[in-house]
């Protein structure tokens, strides 16, 4: 009897031991990141080697990380919030979890339109949402704008992701800003009418649908095409070689650009280290690595862009909108998707 109670107690003690983790005493910076890329890990390690500052990371989905920082309140250990999508960066700012910051290094490295106008966050890399089309069945002359994809001539020729995808929400948010809510609704409904199948899968699955002959055109982020062309899966490479890319709206409002960035958390306990890390990531070698490993566009204009991206041309016209609009119009975009029947 007593022995059994002892066994129970020792199990409890074991549980508590598992729960306790030694506290770190060395200089550190705490990052809450929604970027899940392998290359980030490498860059953090390089940063630690160079500065001796340890990088602690919690990675997760952006809205959940924002919610976690909010709930942790003034005792949150978070120093830096990193994520993809301008709308999410803006919603972090609006949620009041960030503080403005600036440094001469940051100011010099990042053009004004790739950071928050009040300094709450700064861009690290950008990506364009482009039209991907079948080399076999579509001639680039047939393509012009995002808006044109809603034209009945594309009936049964488009595949898209589900409207839960942040990247399409942000695209629609900008269309609402540029064309107005009514036109944006007509656009969403037009796309739905032109769908070759119900919305499903991720970005790569849309390109595969084109390779499979299900559809002729789709919307994708630039880096996914880069990664598919360099995939370890030979079938995926074959699929990517069947499609080509098109930068839409060159003669009108410009191609939709999205951004990944970092913001200093309001109650950051290691503020200086956090700024050091941001400056490190904006420095030329790191910017070049981000681009070559992940096929993203560097924000630092002096940094070298990956050869593949260069071969696509880097001087395309982009939407010159404040990224804050992505966040401000997000709910409207979701509602327009719902009303337009884009599942």
């Amino acid at each position: 009897m007593k022995r059994k109670i002892l066994v129970f107690l020792s199990i409890c003690a074991f549980s508590l031991t598992c729960a306790s983790v030694a506290l770190a005493a060395s200089p550190e910076v705490n990052v809450y990141s929604a970027r899940h890329y392998e290359i980030d890990e490498v860059l953090y390690n390089n940063f630690t080697k160079e500065t001796g500052i340890k990088v602690n990371v919690i990675s997760g989905n952006a809205p959940e990380l924002v919610e976690r920082i909010k709930r942790e309140g003034e005792r949150s250990p978070a120093d830096l919030f990193m994520t993809v999508d301008g709308g999410v960066l803006n919603s972090a700012k609006v949620a009041g979890i960030l503080q403005p910051t600036s440094s001469p290094v940051i100011d010099a490295a990042v053009p004004a339109h790739l950071k928050d106008k009040d300094g709450y966050w700064v861009g690290l890399t950008t990506r364009a949402r482009i039209i991907v089309y079948s080399k076999e069945r579509v001639k680039p002359e047939q393509l012009s704008t995002y808006e044109d994809l809603a034209d009945p001539k594309w009936k049964g020729k488009i595949t898209v992701r589900s409207s839960a995808a942040m990247y399409d929400q942000s695209l629609l948010a900008t269309l609402i800003a540029l064309d107005g809510e009514d036109k944006a609704f007509e656009w969403a409904r037009g796309i739905v009418n032109n769908l070759a199948r119900a919305p499903q899968g991720n970005d790569r699955d849309q390109a595969k649908a084109i390779a499979a002959g299900i559809s002729d055109v789709c919307l994708m982020n630039t880096y996914y095409i880069g990664q598919m062309l360099n995939s370890k899966d030979p079938e995926e490479v074959k699929a990517a070689e069947k499609v080509s890319i098109f930068f839409p709206n060159q003669k009108t409002t410009g191609t939709h650009l999205n951004i990944s960035g970092a913001g200093l958390v309001k109650n950051s306990p290691n503020k200086e280290n956090a700024i050091k890390l941001v400056e490190f990531l904006l420095d030329l070698p790191q910017q070049r690595l981000l681009s070559s490993a992940n096929y993203e566009y560097p924000v630092n204009p002096a940094a070298e862009t990956a050869p593949l991206l260069k071969s696509w041309g880097t001087d395309f016209k982009t939407q010159m909108l404040d990224f804050a609009i992505y966040g401000e119009n997000n709910i409207k975009a979701i509602q327009v998707f719902n009303k337009g029947g884009w599942k």
């Binding site: 009897m1 705490n30 919690i58 599942k343």
Partner: protein, 550 residues
């Protein structure tokens, strides 16, 4: 006066109250924080989406539960009744699908059936056939139902099998003696008897489907869980999310009530002094082969194909440099899962025994309430847990204890959340163990002068040992597969095998998920194997039971 005093001092009642309070606290904090002003967003959701949510959730859950039962019940029946070729291996292997998280299975099948997957690529390469020309496509809803059915049927299989194994020998013999054939005794006698255990397994399957996010969001199916996500995290609208959470909880309570009702109205008490296990008999060659074929077919779709695909990815992505990191991730999740499972099982055993010692209505209702953690989406529970721990941490700081629950640095928050979420699994396992044993042994021991605790540890715990072990394994395996709680509540630099899979899948690099996914499945399979060995050696060590069987 004396009674209430003893309630506080009684360790069983204490554990019971502890479970109830632990589970309620996160939800109370949620309720407090969700009291935001109403907005027009809710009108939008109600006007445009609610109907879809309700219909899709119902359709998905009902068809998932139905198909899972259609697989699980026949499997339990034939493995108990017949000694068909390969039975001993198959009986064990049929638990393995529990080791494969539904979202991983979904990724795998979606890829496999997609354009670059093995199915279509094979047809193209070897037959020059492009099925897309015939309009081949993957319909999301049936596909999701298929995924849930092949990954979740073991819940039904295990529970029904446990019932059949213990109660059916004399019944089956009698029905056959009275002239019923095998089919007729199944439909006429056993199906009604099995109804409560089928309902028990089906409820677990339904809860899993209701709280799923990975599979449904991948296929663009709008259920309540995805709706709560998109309202809360997409539209930052905690109020609408809370409203839908309440609706989901309502559905869950209705389901639990139906289950209880089914247990009560359908339960036939089998009064027999000697409950013997059914000895499987050797069937005719044709029947035997048919049984083997059916089982292998189920195993093919639930285990062999997914694991085969993982290994084929592994050949593309094998990278020795990843091993140390994944090893660390495996250690992280295994140690947390062990700790959390131990806590969960202690709470579960204590709570169930408390309701047996003090079976008042409030005690039973409270214990039932404590199982709700299992049915809400993980992310919703996670937010409640963060609020709770932040509050404790702030309260600690105001009393000058600054390191009390430095929540971002320890796994305390995560382990607590696991225990709250999976308490239901442990609770149901222990409860079903007790219901098989009944009260007679305990009453005999009490009559002979043993106290309640001594009775439990010396008499009843050895009797329900198997139930505790199987509860432990189920909880452990569920934690290994868990994703949303781990993602949201983990401390710094704490990665698990599940988060590695998620990271690669999120970046759409499917071949890289192979190694961590295989490790998850291997750890779970090893655990299931150890448990079934313990089970066997335990039965072998009880000669009186074996004598009874002969």
């Amino acid at each position: 006066m004396k009674r209430s005093f003893s309630c506080i001092r009684n360790p069983w009642i204490f554990t019971h109250r502890l479970s109830v309070v632990s589970v309620s606290l996160p939800f109370i904090f949620l309720a407090i924080q969700a009291a935001a002003p109403a907005n027009e967003n809710w009108l939008h959701i109600r006007g445009w989406l609610l109907q879809t949510y309700v219909l899709d959730t119902l359709l998905l859950t009902l068809s998932g539960v139905f198909i899972a039962s259609m697989i699980g019940v026949p499997l339990a029946w034939i493995t108990c009744l017949f000694a068909f070729p390969g039975k001993y291996f198959i009986e064990w292997a049929l638990v393995l699908p529990l080791a494969i998280p539904p979202y991983i299975s979904a990724y795998i099948y979606y890829h496999l059936m997609g354009y670059t997957g093995g199915f279509q690529a094979g047809l193209r390469t070897f037959l020059g056939l492009d099925v897309n020309r015939f309009g081949f496509d993957i319909p999301p809803m049936p596909f999701a139902v298929f995924i849930f059915a092949v990954t979740l049927f073991p819940y039904v299989y295990l529970i029904v099998k446990a019932f059949l194994k213990h109660q059916s020998a004399s019944l089956y013999e009698n029905t056959r003696l009275l002239g019923r054939g095998a089919w007729s005794s199944f439909f006429g006698v056993f199906l009604p008897l099995m109804a409560p255990s089928i309902a028990g397994g089906a409820t677990l399957v339904a809860f899993e489907i209701l709280s799923d996010f990975g599979v449904t969001s991948h296929f663009g199916i709008h259920t309540f869980s995805t709706a709560i996500f998109s309202a809360w995290f997409g539209m930052s609208d905690a109020d609408s999310a809370a409203k839908m959470s309440v609706m989901l909880l309502g559905a869950v309570f209705t389901l639990a009530a139906f289950n209880k009702l089914a247990q009560r109205t359908l339960k036939y008490r089998i009064v027999s002094s000697k409950e013997r296990a059914l000895l499987p008999r050797i069937p005719s060659r044709r029947v035997g082969l048919a049984c083997t074929f059916f089982c292998v077919l189920v195993l093919l779709f639930s285990v062999i194909i997914p694991v085969g695909q993982l290994f084929s990815w592994l050949t593309l992505s094998w990278n020795q440099e990843l091993l140390p990191r994944l090893w660390q991730n495996a250690r992280n999740i295994v140690s947390s899962a062990l700790a959390a499972t131990s806590c969960t099982m202690i709470l579960a055993v204590g709570t169930v025994n408390a309701t047996r010692l003090f079976p008042s209505k409030p005690n039973l209702a409270l214990a039932q309430f404590a199982t709700i953690g299992y049915s809400v989406p993980g992310a919703v529970l996670a937010m409640g847990v963060i609020s709770l721990f932040s509050f404790i941490s702030r309260a600690g700081a105001s009393f000058g204890i600054h390191d009390l629950f430095d929540i971002s640095r320890t796994t305390a928050m995560l382990i607590f959340a696991y225990a709250v979420r999976f308490f239901a699994i442990g609770y149901h396992a222990v409860e079903s163990g007790f219901s098989k044993v009944g009260n007679i042994y305990g009453e005999a021991a009490r009559t002979l002068g043993a106290g309640p605790s001594e009775t439990f540890f010396r008499v009843e715990m050895p009797l329900i040992r198997n139930a505790i072990i199987s509860g432990f394994v189920l909880v452990f395996v569920d934690i290994m597969k868990e994703l949303p709680l781990t993602m949201i509540l983990r401390p710094f630099n704490f990665n698990t095998l599940g988060t590695s899979v998620y990271d690669f899948a999120k970046n759409e690099i499917m071949e890289e998920i192979a190694l961590p996914a295989i490790l998850i499945i291997a750890v779970c399979a090893a655990f299931i194997a150890i448990a079934s060995l313990l089970d066997k050696s335990y039965s072998a060590a009880r000669p009186e039971v074996r004598r009874g069987e002969r």
